[in-house]
């Protein structure tokens, strides 16, 4: 019996080792210049300002995409700027011929199956909501995309 378990564990280890995806943060999410009291939304389809990750995996494979999103951006002095996301603030764009774009809610995990291309972009937008008395300056935050390989 112990040898059977050892074989199964070895098989599991082999299977996991063979399935890797490639994830790269390629472009930051830029909200640009903002006026106090005026919200600004960046769509995930904004080629210049939306954040962009590259996620590569094999055709026929499947991944689960999970964002870790900041609810505020911060200045160096600790002052914060509210940032929100909607049900369409994230998008998956296939790379290559017949490229398609599908939006999704970055607040929930998204499962994606590679059917035609081994390469996709995962893009992220959002809305900053500066208060009418928002302190001027540069605010930053970190967005992390975790890709779990399911198949």
């Amino acid at each position: 019996m112990s040898s059977l378990v050892a074989v199964l564990i070895a098989l599991a280890g082999t299977a996991r080792g063979a399935a890797q995806a490639t994830v790269q943060g390629q472009q930051g999410l830029t909200f640009g210049f903002n006026i106090p009291g005026v919200n600004r939304t960046i769509a995930p389809t904004d080629a210049v300002n939306a954040g962009r990750f590259y996620v590569g995996h094999r055709v026929g494979g499947q991944v689960r995409l999970t964002f870790t999103l900041p609810s505020t951006l911060s200045k160096s002095n600790g002052t914060t700027l509210k940032v929100t996301y909607s049900s369409t603030s994230a998008a998956i764009q296939t790379i290559g011929a017949g490229s398609t774009t599908t939006t999704f809610n970055p607040g929930s995990s998204k499962t994606y199956s590679y059917t035609t291309s081994p390469d996709i972009y995962v893009k992220i937008g959002g809305t900053v909501q500066p208060k009418s008395n928002q302190q001027s300056g540069i605010y930053t935050g970190t967005i992390t995309l975790t890709v779990a390989v399911l198949q």
Binding site: V5, L8, T30, S136
Partner: protein
């Protein structure tokens, strides 16, 4: 004992198989930065009134932007940023029921409190563009010409000049 081992072995195998199916085979992550720059709010104050002083019937009188009695607005905004200047201008000054026509307006903006080297423009309800100075200051000077008639009624005539400044 062998039965116990067989059952336990099947359970273990099932658990491991389940783990292989349900658990991610691997996971990677990457991060990017989100950045926003917030401008300082625009503050604007009417710093000096436009004053035509004494005006005589039938004699037009102009106040140049460089005159000591030109109107002036002082603005503080984000350094080096473009802003629009939009005016609400009276066409006449009023003294009770009497009015005094205004023939034309002229303006000038500068990053310093001086009309030397300033950029001229024509104040109007249509936006004019200006650039805030590197020290966050912008000064807007306003002059005009009044057209008193030969029968202009004596009195003190006044009107209001409003300026709206916005980022664009």
């Amino acid at each position: 004992m062998s039965n116990f081992h067989a059952v336990t072995g099947r359970r273990l195998a099932a658990l491991i198989a389940l783990a292989i199916v349900a658990a991610p085979l691997s996971a990677q992550s990457a991060s990017i930065t989100a950045t926003a720059t917030v401008f300082r709010p625009i503050t604007i104050s009417g710093a000096r009134n436009l004053d035509f002083a004494n005006v005589f019937p039938g004699v037009n009188k102009s106040v140049a932007v460089s005159a000591a009695t030109s109107g002036r607005f002082d603005i503080v905004a984000e350094a080096s940023q473009a802003v629009s200047l939009t005016f609400a201008l009276p066409t006449t000054l009023a003294s009770g029921v009497n009015s005094l026509a205004i023939g034309s307006w002229n303006g000038c903006w500068n990053a310093t409190n001086s009309t030397t080297g300033c950029t001229t423009f024509t104040p109007s309800a249509s936006a004019s563009n200006a650039t805030v100075g590197g020290a966050t200051n912008l000064y807007v000077f306003v002059g005009a010409t009044v057209l008193p008639t030969a029968a202009q009624v004596a009195g003190a005539y006044t009107g209001t000049v409003s300026l709206t400044v916005a980022y664009f």
